[in-house]
Symmetry: C2
């Protein structure tokens, strides 16, 4: 169905650097200073290979689905959307070098190639190492199955150009489109929840598996990169396969009915994957846009049903467009009611976001609901963590600008934002982004 599923089964990674003997295992985990990390890492990854067959974790549990880590594309884009998300944005630490960045991507890829197969981050893992060392793996996923875990890495604009600084010698390879998103009408962005040099999207059907992945990747990054912001999500808000029922967002409406499906290879080629005429590290990649959208749910909950439906442009029960039919009937924006007015309001969300009114622009949505507790007024801090993949940021920009008059805007606030280029998948034994440094 998806490219991930068609790809060959993942093999244990074969790291490119040869392992020097006697390299410290602490190097793998980045527990040394940033200066030394780049040196130790390749070797540690190599050292891991030698005993990889002795994986300390035997997955068990109910969701043993695994997706290959290596392949043409990174997993987590066309993968059938899982139930839980842990997303994290990272900044490279000051005084880190190009070699630190390379070693980080190597270490991350190695750990991700294992965790996505239901294994600990290293061969010795949580309990198989020396008693007198901290374990490589933090252990809370021991005994849990892979749970469909995917780990997807992205490169932000600042990795290439940080306020004019070319920290990693990458400025010359920055695609012109990889730049911060423009300001949109009504943006209320918090810089502490926006941007970042790197991002990791971890999705799994078990939240503990997704959390374990981000926690261990953050630990591996120690001394090289640190979390800038992070977000947990649940209850996918996007249908990505024909078999999935359309889920509901926290406004209580079905969401993602018209999403690009993971088996629609024509749409994926046209709208999601960066074209093959682009540099090799990009071709087959995709641009990831994340938007943290706070929903003013207490206000929304006081809106009468007819008005809620007018704002969305669909009925709440079935998700059918207000022009009639069922959930999967195409909306008819010309249809009018007895009063001569359009059945689907001009400012409705479904109309403004529809490809027909946006020169055919489509994106692959892969968002999650979130609840971050409550605010000082006792209201739930909740909303939609919107994630979309597209071959060009211009697709998102076009759609988001079209939504500037969305009647829904009264009930939402965009409080976080980021864009990253998700490079092509890693070839077996290599690492994500390797071609960028070739």
């Amino acid at each position: 169905m998806s490219d991930e599923i068609d790809a060959p089964p993942a093999e244990l990674p074969q790291s490119e650097p040869v392992a020097p003997t006697g390299v410290s295992r602490r190097g793998l985990l980045g527990l040394v200073g940033a200066g030394a990390a780049g040196l130790a890492v390749g070797g540690a990854a190599g050292a891991g290979i030698a005993v990889a067959a002795q994986a300390s974790t035997t997955p068990s549990g109910t969701s043993s689905t695994t997706y290959p880590f290596f392949g043409e594309h990174q997993a987590g884009i066309t993968t059938p959307v899982q139930e839980h998300l842990h997303f994290a944005s990272y900044d490279m630490m000051s005084r880190t070098t190009r070699e630190d960045l390379i070693s980080l991507l190597q270490d991350w890829s190695y750990a991700a190639s294992r965790m996505t197969q239901g294994l600990d981050v290293s061969a010795t893992g949580a309990v198989g190492g020396p008693m007198e060392s901290p374990p490589d793996d933090t252990g809370e996923a021991v005994g849990l199955a892979a749970s469909g875990l995917t780990i997807t890495f992205g490169f932000g604009p600042t990795l290439f150009d940080n306020a004019g600084q070319d920290r990693f010698g990458l400025a010359g390879q920055r695609p012109p489109e990889l730049e911060p998103l423009p300001a949109f009408l009504g943006d209320a962005l918090d810089p502490a929840q926006s941007g970042g040099d790197l991002c990791i999207q971890a999705c799994a059907d078990d939240p503990q598996v997704a959390v374990h992945a981000i926690r261990n990747l953050s630990r591996i990054a120690f001394g090289r990169a640190k979390i800038r912001w992070s977000q947990l999500g649940f209850g996918r808000t996007s249908k990505t396969t024909a078999a999935q029922t359309t889920p509901r967002n926290l406004f209580g409406f079905k969401d993602g009915t018209a999403n690009i499906l993971a088996d629609d290879s024509a749409a994926l080629a046209a709208d999601v994957w960066i074209a093959q005429d682009q540099p090799g590290w990009m071709a087959g990649g995709s641009y990831l846009v994340a938007r943290k959208i706070a929903m003013i749910i207490e206000s929304w909950d006081r809106v009468r049903l007819s008005e809620q439906q007018r704002i969305i442009g669909r009925d709440k029960a079935e998700g059918a467009p207000l022009s009639g039919g069922d959930e999967f009937t195409a909306p008819d924006f010309e249809a009018t009611g007895a009063n001569g007015k359009p059945l689907i309001d001009q400012r409705s969300h479904v109309r403004l976001a529809h490809p027909d009114l946006n020169d055919g622009v489509r994106i692959l949505r892969r968002g999650y609901n979130f609840v971050d507790g409550n605010n000082d007024l006792g209201r739930l801090s909740a909303g939609l963590f919107f994630v979309s993949f597209q071959r060009s940021p211009a697709q998102f920009v076009t759609l988001q600008r079209a939504l500037s008059t969305d009647a829904m805007n009264e009930y939402i606030r965009h409080v976080g934002s980021g864009i990253w280029l998700v490079p092509a998948g890693a070839t077996t034994g290599s690492y994500v982004g390797a071609a960028l440094f070739a």
Copy 2:
């Protein structure tokens, strides 16, 4: 197995007040001012009964487990612990009356009796009401099954005596034991994450179902009570049935091996349920203690495996006591190693918390892991949301005091705390706490 399971299947609630004709449906949802809420509510609940058979939601989905809401005990105590938690603490709003409190408990019980059966909060629910009114139900759980939802209500000390004020005419019925927990060594409690007049524990196997429950109960409380603080959790940290595997906490260790099991009726009677010689609203209830325990996971993750195991007193791989055997072998605190020292350290968590060293004191644990994003240093804000049930707060106090020298304390901070009396279960058609107001 549990009392809940033995109880007769829930019937649709028969509210005690008779429905006045023409009562506003808005009354049910508390969308009127606090003054009027008490009046409208009983009637609205009654009005709901008349059309309850026309429930607008037909549950579907994968986890159709339902637990009865009505019964001798409230559900959510001995119920096999579900995968997800949404816990909320509420304060009654200023100028609310005894009648407001009664109406709130009636409305909450009515809605809970429906939601736990996979139904919307009312008969008209999310989409069955008039188009020109806000829907009774917020809708995000439409199409989702009951998912094992339990909703458990508790009464805090301040409901009976708020700094000397007897707001609800309940001071005379306050059990002497229902008082704020004493201060413990090392407490770092945040008042904004502690206490509260009322609490609701919503547990379900689908996080969206648990969130839907708290959201709708908060909405129903509008004008009468508001959320003081709330907490989401995942990955239960307590084994409550013999069939459940022992889960792992965020220190990577199995947690809850020696928990009271839900089918151990002798232990439940001795340690969990408030005795039958207590007033009827209490007998068969239990005291709920919640502690938000932040884990300093980055520090823990740098501790060598031998030291982690020494602190816990069990091995990390299997959870066996360091005195030998397997997970379920009783720890032998007298056993010594070749060096003559005890195999289980004197300050280990397993020893200090063990009933044998605490006059046989046991509690029923029912906690969850949590991750609340990250702090400014890029570290995950994570830990354990500890929940326990006991027939007397003294049980928890004894154990927590014993833990004052726990070697684990270096890696944890208690940042939130609360105690509530969970009254007995509601009889069919009545509401939780009814006997308190008789």
